[in-house]
Amino acid sequence: MKDFALMMIGAALVNNVILARFLGLCSFMGVTTRIDTAAGMGLATTFVITVSSMADWAVQHYLLDAYGLGYLRTVTFILVIASAVQFTELTIRKVSPSLFQMLGIYLPLITTNCAVLGVALLLVEGHMSFIGSTLFAFASSLGYSLVMVIFAGLRERLALAQVPRLFAGPPIAFIVASLLAMAFMGFSGISTG
């Protein structure tokens, strides 16, 4: 029990997908101009990561490992992820057209969001149980969502700040991201200790 808790904290905060592993940066910079959008993206990605990692675990165990098809891992994983993304896209379009419009191109692009594939591949390397891998994936995506929302809040304030022209836009956003990553370093050591 304690192991699971530590692993989840580690996945969400210490080895944060965005700030420590530098995965999913395209959506991190792309859809964090507003808190609502970032939260929606976080939710969508959480769903995709959790569902696809469950499916991927099954594929890995019952298909790839069972028949020695390790070389098909990337292809099959992407297939699973793409389907999950399609499903999410359909759902969001139905449930919240405004969020669908705000996420725009970034929604289908979850497919190529390296955070999703990255987490799936990390799981394979970690050789975890089904529950463990599902929890790990869920915690990772929660960490992703948390950082997305925090960053969106910071950028909303940045939009109102009088940033010098030289730094306005992406440059200052990257500086903020680096400072945020620095702050998250405070958590390092939790999962090991």
Binding site: G153, L154, Q162, F167, A183, S188
Partner: protein, 358 residues
């Protein structure tokens, strides 16, 4: 009558408070002064040099940026915010740290965490804490080498010249023995060696109200820092919300877990009086720019700072967590501000109009 010379309309109000930004900064500096002077006496000349270097570099960094942006530097420097940033940073450094720590920190604070955002009021993170964390991550050895107090009037204390040597050429071998860990660092190291607190704290550096123990300038004289903070509250520069919430945020969980397992968790008093908690609660977390605006938001912010400090100290790798906790809560400030708002007259908390009641 030459009233036609009056320029374009000036909007009401036509009168204003005597309060100014420089006055606020000056008040904060005054509140910091007693603790700083006490620290100078405690750690001698190297501490004084480091303080001067840090404050000067912070101001230099600001002036440099302002020149680059072709804005007048002198009036903006005169508001005192850059000096205050450098001052707060200096108070959080090991007093005998080498000169380049102060220079790098000061420059980092005003250039990378303040001026690139557009200067005073635009930054998202507390500049002093950004600089401290950046230094801690980059130079862990220098940033964790503390010396025991060596008051100015002590025989072994370095004089003005020897102090210069320590700051600029590093610690002479003879004085190397002086370095020791701070209380928090010591406890953490011992814990990792499998020695629990019940044993390690008996030989730990003495915890004392007077502040006679290894630590930063702002760590030792806890009671002077607290007095400065209370004075700021009395002068209405800050409100009680953040300091009280932060102290409770760290004291409550510490007290509970200490009561359960004193061998692994330090007591609430140890937590509150060690490290930068008091300095953080009164002077750093209360930074206007990077903390929430509403009283309720400030309570959440302060409690978060306290709790995160305690979590990092207790479970994470670093012995001290105030700087990290403040930065983490700084990052949450915009979100707190957008969800915790005051109730508007004639509306409920959600913003819908009240029902008329006869």
């Amino acid at each position: 009558m030459s009233l036609h010379s009056i320029p374009a309309p000036v909007s009401a109000p036509h009168t204003t408070t005597a309060n100014t930004v420089s006055r606020v900064m000056a008040t904060v500096m005054l509140a910091l002064a007693p603790a700083t002077l006490f620290g100078f006496w405690l750690y001698g000349w190297p501490a004084i040099y480091l303080w001067v270097i840090t404050v000067a570099s912070a101001m230099l960094g600001e002036a440099f940026c302002l020149r680059l942006m072709q804005r007048p530097a002198t009036p903006i420097l005169m508001d005192g915010s850059a000096a205050l940033t450098g001052w707060l940073l200096a108070l959080s450094l090991p007093p005998w740290a080498p000169w380049w720590i102060g220079v790098l920190g000061g420059l980092f604070a005003t250039v990378l965490s303040k001026q690139v955002f557009g200067g005073l009021g635009q930054n998202l993170f507390n500049p002093a804490m950004v600089a401290r964390v950046a230094l801690l991550i980059s130079f862990p050895v220098q940033m964790t080498s503390w010396v025991g107090p060596l008051p100015l009037d002590a025989v072994t204390a370095p004089g003005p010249l020897a102090g210069l040597l320590i700051t600029f050429k590093g610690m002479p071998p003879g004085l190397d023995a002086m370095t020791s860990a701070s209380l928090l660092g010591f406890a953490k190291t011992e814990m990792s060696r499998g020695i629990d607190l019940l044993q390690s704290l008996t030989q730990a550096p003495a915890l004392s109200w007077i502040g006679s123990r290894p630590g930063s300038l702002g760590e030792t004289a806890g009671w002077l820092i607290a007095a400065g903070g209370v004075a700021m509250m009395a002068l209405r520069v800050i409100t009680w919300h953040i300091p009280v919430a932060m102290l409770l945020g760290i004291a409550v969980p510490a007290a509970i877990l200490h009561a359960i397992d004193p061998a692994h968790y330090m007591s609430a008093t140890t937590h509150v009086f060690s490290g930068g908690v008091l300095l953080g609660a009164f002077f750093i977390a209360t930074d206007y720019v990077t903390s929430p605006n509403t009283p309720r938001g400030q309570l959440i912010f302060g409690a978060g700072c306290g709790l995160l400090t305690w979590v990092i100290r207790t479970w994470a790798g670093y012995p001290e967590g105030v700087a990290f906790a403040v930065l983490l809560m700084n990052s949450l400030t915009p979100i707190i501000d957008s969800y915790v708002k005051p109730r508007i007259y004639g509306r409920d908390r959600k913003g819908t109009a009240l029902e008329p009641v006869k």
